[in-house]
């Protein structure tokens, strides 16, 4: 195991050391200490590493992650795991806005709450939030799954494409073209699996499913007010 203390080593040095593992993996397990809210910690990883960050991370922690397993033992700033391609990112505390934005794959777990725009423009990632999500979550979400075990804020799933959204608690309001949909057996199976992968003990039958009404897929005069 390699331990890096960010009060002694720069973000650049840490990231370069982690990136160097792509060509030749000499150390799989990394511990990062004293992050103190610094930005861009462990972004651009592309190796099956396990990285534990003890403390709070700033913006874009684990951004564009590929293959790695990154755990933040604290809160995460804006855009945690943004544009992730694969791997797992877990936030033990709360995540700020735009968590998992545009991510194409992998799994993002937020054990606390997530702020506004969680899963905005998501493109295939699975996101599981144990607490609540803020307003405009999953705005223009394209693909993947968003699971919210708490409540969702205003305008959930506005202008949604093909993301499946599962919410256990209340939804303050649904965004344009987002509707409640029937929870069929395949959805229950999928949700059960997502919760299991996230390590979260919730009863899948307590959730409701939301998705796109697909009414905005093509420009129509009747939809003018939604444009």
């Amino acid at each position: 195991m390699k331990t890096v203390n960010l009060s002694e080593v720069s973000i650049r040095e840490l990231n370069q050391a982690l990136h160097d593992q792509k060509a030749q993996c000499t150390e799989e397990t990394w511990t990062v200490l004293e992050p103190k809210g610094q930005h861009n910690i462990a972004c651009g990883l592309d190796q099956t590493l396990s990285v534990d960050i003890h403390g709070h991370a700033g913006y874009y922690c684990a951004g564009m992650n590929q293959k790695a397993n990154v755990t933040i033992h604290g809160n995460a700033g804006q855009g945690v795991a943004e544009n992730m391609m694969s791997g797992v990112v877990r936030v033990k505390g709360d995540a700020s806005q735009s968590a998992g934005a545009t991510a194409h794959g992998g799994l993002l777990v937020v054990e606390g709450n997530a702020g506004a725009r969680c899963g905005i423009s998501m493109k295939g990632v699975d996101i599981v939030v144990k607490g609540d999500v803020g307003h405009m979550s999953c705005f223009m979400g394209q693909a993947g799954n968003l699971v919210v075990c708490g409540d969702a804020g205003d305008a959930l799933g506005d202008s949604l494409y093909e993301v499946k959204i599962y919410v256990k608690g209340s939804v303050k309001s649904l965004g344009a073209d987002c509707i409640e949909k029937e929870m069929r057996s395949e959805h229950l199976a999928e949700l059960t699996d997502l919760l299991k992968r996230a390590g979260i003990d919730e009863d899948p039958t307590q959730f409701k499913r939301y998705g796109s009404a697909r009414g905005l897929y093509n420009f129509k005069v009747d939809n003018a007010s939604a444009y």
């Binding site: 544009n83 725009r117 897929y217 003018a224």
Partner: protein, 442 residues
């Protein structure tokens, strides 16, 4: 005013309600939805034609055409990047998406640019292997939609361009109508096939310039500080935008004036938002100069550049390089008269065609139809683009030598005068034959 000989005398067209205006009112009444089209602003605007060069004579010493060197190369991204981009000519190919354009057209752009030692740029929709393969220097756009964005392609890029806006639609997002969303494009963008796709106008994970600074650092971290990072803005509040872009950490700033082309935007947006390219350049240069960053953060200008005179005028006003979109497409064969009959069949005419969004381009450029796309031979079209880029360069050199400059970047505002009061005020050069710069000095 030229005499209209087709309309009988006595029938007087209203200047306010002219035929195009009336046609648009009827179109709106028929359909109930705004007009979407490609191309750039079609209205008349103060432009580079309103400027002239003062060639050398008694007080200046000209250089010999053909014999004496006039350097055209430029290096972009010298501020932070480990590997700045070296271009042989200061004319680059602007970002145009695969989706808006056919794969053959994208390949042709890469080929033409590579022959001439310049760069080409991806667009809203990601990087294709054809384009990467044929482009020696490829700039990868980082757009609000993030379609197809992935770290592998990011690391393959020679530079990254963070797009905040486009001159044709500052403040607007992209559009790609269902007709053009084929299987391949749907897959690259992770969208259902056939949807009318609206791409976001704001980036999803940052909101203001302070956030952007952190975002740029993230991109640098992911690419290990190797490649330059550009910021592209549509020309509006250019003076402030350029200052903020420098502060946010850009290596290169791209300013796209309102004449700039687009693949699909509301006509009302194209014609009524933004400022002309001519007006934007002095604002950008002033901002850079005030920060001591002129030439340190390089400035690329685009929007309505057509010939070597336009290139030379941009550079005289302080740009380090220019980018072309529409002109490059015309060089490939867009709007070519040989397809006039076919343009007529789809309700247009050669030279007027702007319905890029429909995907029916007879020239095989702004289309995804396999049959139409086949009409464009990427090798031959690439050659045509290279020829055209060569002419732009030769023309710009001719003008620079006439002004006694052995480097295009030595051209300066002092070499220019304006033909109209408007262009003098915007370009901040004197009205020809006077020393009057409106708004500055008498």
């Amino acid at each position: 005013m030229s005499e209209d000989t087709k309309t009988p005398a006595g029938l007087r067209e209203s200047a306010t309600f002219d035929r195009n205006t009336m046609h648009e009112i009827r179109r709106a009444a028929d359909t109930g939805i705004y007009d979407i089209r490609g191309f750039g602003a079609k209205r008349k605007l103060p432009h580079f034609d309103d400027l002239l060069f003062l060639g050398a004579s008694m007080s200046r010493y000209p250089l010999e055409g053909y014999r004496e060197k006039c350097n055209t190369s430029v290096t972009l991204g010298t501020r932070f990047a480990k590997k700045p981009i070296e271009l042989d000519i200061p004319v680059t190919i602007a970002g145009m998406s695969f989706g808006a354009l056919s794969a053959n057209a994208k390949e042709a752009l890469g080929r033409g640019a590579s022959i001439m030692g310049t760069s080409t740029t991806t667009g809203d929709g990601g990087m294709t292997p054809e384009e990467r393969g044929q482009s020696k220097k490829l700039v990868y756009q980082y757009l609000p939609s993030r379609y197809g964005m992935n770290p592998d392609d990011l690391r393959k890029a020679d530079a990254i361009e963070v797009v905040l806006g486009q001159g044709a639609k500052p403040g607007g997002g992209g559009m790609l109508l269902g007709q053009k969303i084929t299987d391949r494009i749907a897959q690259m963008r992770t969208l259902p096939k056939g949807v009318d796709q609206r791409s976001a106008c704001r980036h999803p994970d940052w909101t203001g310039p302070d956030d952007l600074a952190i975002k740029i650092l993230e991109l640098r971290e992911i690419t290990d500080w190797q490649v330059p990072i550009y910021i592209k803005v549509g020309a509006t509040r250019t003076y402030y935008d350029v200052k903020l872009a420098v502060k946010a950490g850009a290596d290169v700033i791209v300013v796209d004036g309102m004449q700039g082309g687009t693949a699909a935007t509301q006509d009302v947006f194209i014609e009524h938002v933004g400022i002309p390219t001519l007006a934007a350049i002095p604002q950008a240069v002033q901002a850079l100069q005030e920060m001591g960053m002129h030439r340190k953060v390089q400035l690329i200008v685009s929007g309505g550049i057509r010939n070597g005179a336009d290139v030379a005028k941009c550079m005289a006003l302080g740009a380090d390089a220019v980018a072309i979109g529409t002109a490059a497409l015309v060089a490939l064969g867009c709007n070519h008269p040989k397809y006039d009959d076919e343009f007529k069949k789809i309700g247009s005419a050669a030279g007027y065609y702007d319905d890029y969004q429909e995907g029916k381009d007879p020239a095989g450029i702004s289309t995804q139809d396999p049959e139409l796309s086949k009409r464009l031979d990427p090798v031959e079209a690439g050659r045509r683009l290279a020829n055209y880029l060569n002419v732009l360069t030769l023309e710009a050199q001719t003008l620079a030598r006439a002004c006694g400059k052995n480097d295009l970047r030595n051209l300066e505002p002092e070499d220019l005068v304006a033909l109209t009061v408007e262009s003098a005020a915007m370009a901040r050069v004197p009205l020809a034959g006077t020393s009057w710069v409106p708004g500055q000095k008498f």
